[in-house]
Symmetry: C2
DNA sequence: GTGAAAGCGCTAACAA
DNA sequence: TTGTTAGCGCTTTCAC
């Protein structure tokens, strides 16, 4: 049913119907109520596409997520989604999910959305500029903000707090020989960790850091190489929980008790982290808040175009569970 | 830039531009190429909202997912998404994600989508009828199909195969006293499992089945209650992997070696199932295929309205890992 | 093979 | 307070 048919059916003009539905424009409460009730009864709902065409707004946001599947980013993805949907919902907005591998520019160019959230992949920087260049607001998530560009905001994870807390906690517990395992070539977490340890007077030698893959198996072998040294570390910090799972396995196989003889700390707090045996002490990344912040920033950009978006940093934090204790002599 | 501005800029009529872009209608290859190239150069893209208004089609599907967050359905959700996006993408369609807690009718009534995929929650049956009643095609996922309704199709997980395989495999291994743990009041899996065991001549007594919560902790205590009996089961089958994780922990705490002294089989094959120690033997649910099937069925409904949609059943299957062995005497 | 013009369903400026 | 009407940007008959 179109607005004309509906208006005719209840004996008013289309304009009156529109006014009744939107609430603005002068209209008598009586008419308004009558129209609203009739709409209910006759099941009239405005055609969203027509509304969008005339309004030049879609009340839609597109989320661009990286090339899935990756078990890790999957988790981050789902959690972000919670926050994004919540914030969107509160404003009557809908969420379009861009297909992995496709460019979100498709939606931007066709004016099919009012803004875009970039999930935080390498390459997002260039993408953000391009999007903003077309006058479409955009916000990046992930780990490194984009600043100073008109129409681009950032809601990112601040890795520093959690990593510092790990360093402090480990040192306070009495650990001095600490190992670090990462899948990255250049790990920001490693840099921060080493920095903070140094500040606390503890050195993290290069040969106590090992670079490996992303699977637990690879984490296990990395841990093994560290733990079978003549002067093994008393604690292990891994860049991801998956690697920590492997470390846990390696320790068990070597007959090293966790946490008594070896402390292990993961990073990311994936759902399974609390299910390991013992439950993994790790660093929580609050993607839900990050998603919510991203949308909040996006809306401030939508409502006030022409300015650089702000940057919000969501700090990580240490979650104490049961894989850390003061070091004891092995054997 | 509108089609009129663009057409004027390159010295043709809007109609010609439209024909060039869509490829149908009579148009000379020369003009077509010229228009296409100019569009590229000048950056003209048709306004999607206008296209949708005039076409009466949106090239958009809405996915309705249940009330999140639930760690389990989250996994299913992400996996389904892969299949859904893939199938959608292949047809040039986009995906709208309905916010949890909101009714997808919002999009249906406003003609903002061409079809809907229901994630598979209780209540979907009524919803499906309502949606189809408005002439909008719809497909349910999940575990129980909806059949015989015009405009409604189903792509569901068939639990039977995997469960049968578990029963057969366990019995073949020599297990006769088998325990079952579930969070459900009425578990279809339990029914199927008991049935198949009976067929194989093995009884599953009521007091070897325990109903508990969804967390691993609850799984652990359920397992403990079974394992501390005077005649404990030699194998445990749990309705979910999370419960199996708990069973694994319980066994370890009781000093029972898995799989030598106790076999454990989970269900769902969540990502972490392969990360347990030892890796969990479980039943795989192929949500990606299910999502893909759902979209395929939805499109057949979109292209041929007025008929009941077909039902596709995606069978589960046993994934052998390392938590099952032939039973040995404990102690 | 190409252009002119009518409408898709809605909103908002303007009239009444 | 309400109705009339001119677009929003596009596609698609229908002439040419």
């Amino acid at each position: 049913m179109t607005i004309i048919e509906f208006a005719r059916a209840i004996g008013v003009s289309p304009a009156t119907v529109s006014r009744a539905i939107h609430g603005h424009g002068r209209i008598s409460p009586t008419t308004r109520n009558r129209v609203l009730q009739s709409a209910q009864e006759l099941g009239y709902t405005p055609n969203l596409n027509a509304q969008r065409l005339v309004a030049g707004r879609t009340n839609l946001i597109v989320l661009n997520c990286g090339p899935q599947p990756c078990p890790l980013s999957d988790m981050f993805f789902v959690e972000s989604l919670q926050g994004i949907q919540e914030a969107l919902c509160a404003r009557g907005y809908g969420l379009l999910l861009n297909a992995p591998g496709n460019s979100p520019m498709r939606w931007v160019k066709a004016l099919a959305v009012d803004g875009v959230v970039l999930g935080g992949d390498p390459g997002d920087e260039r993408l953000a500029e391009e999007i903003a260049g077309m006058g479409m607001p955009c916000v990046v998530m992930g780990t490194r903000p984009i600043e100073g560009i008109v129409g681009v905001g950032s809601a990112v994870t601040g890795l520093q707090r959690g990593v510092r807390q790990v360093a402090q906690m480990l040192v306070e517990c009495g650990h001095r020989r600490i190992g670090f395992i990462t899948p990255c070539l250049l790990s920001e977490v490693l840099v921060l960790f080493r920095e903070e340890l140094a500040r606390l007077g503890v050195e993290l030698p290069t040969d106590y850091t090992v670079r490996t893959g992303v699977t637990p198996e690879e984490g296990a072998s990395a841990a093994r190489s560290l733990l079978t040294r003549s002067d093994p570390p008393t604690a292990l910090f891994t860049r991801t929980d998956a690697l920590a799972f492997g470390a846990l396995t390696a320790a068990r196989q070597l007959g090293i008790r966790v946490p008594d003889q070896l402390s292990i700390v993961g990073h990311d707090d994936v759902p399974f982290a609390k299910l390991t045996d013992p439950p993994l002490t790790t660093v929580r990344v609050d993607c839900t808040t990050e998603g919510k912040a991203a949308v909040d920033i996006l809306f401030s950009l939508i409502n006030q175009p022409g300015v650089p978006g702000r940057t919000e940093i969501i700090d990580t934090k240490l979650v104490m569970r049961e894989t850390v204790a003061s070091p004891q002599r092995r054997r």
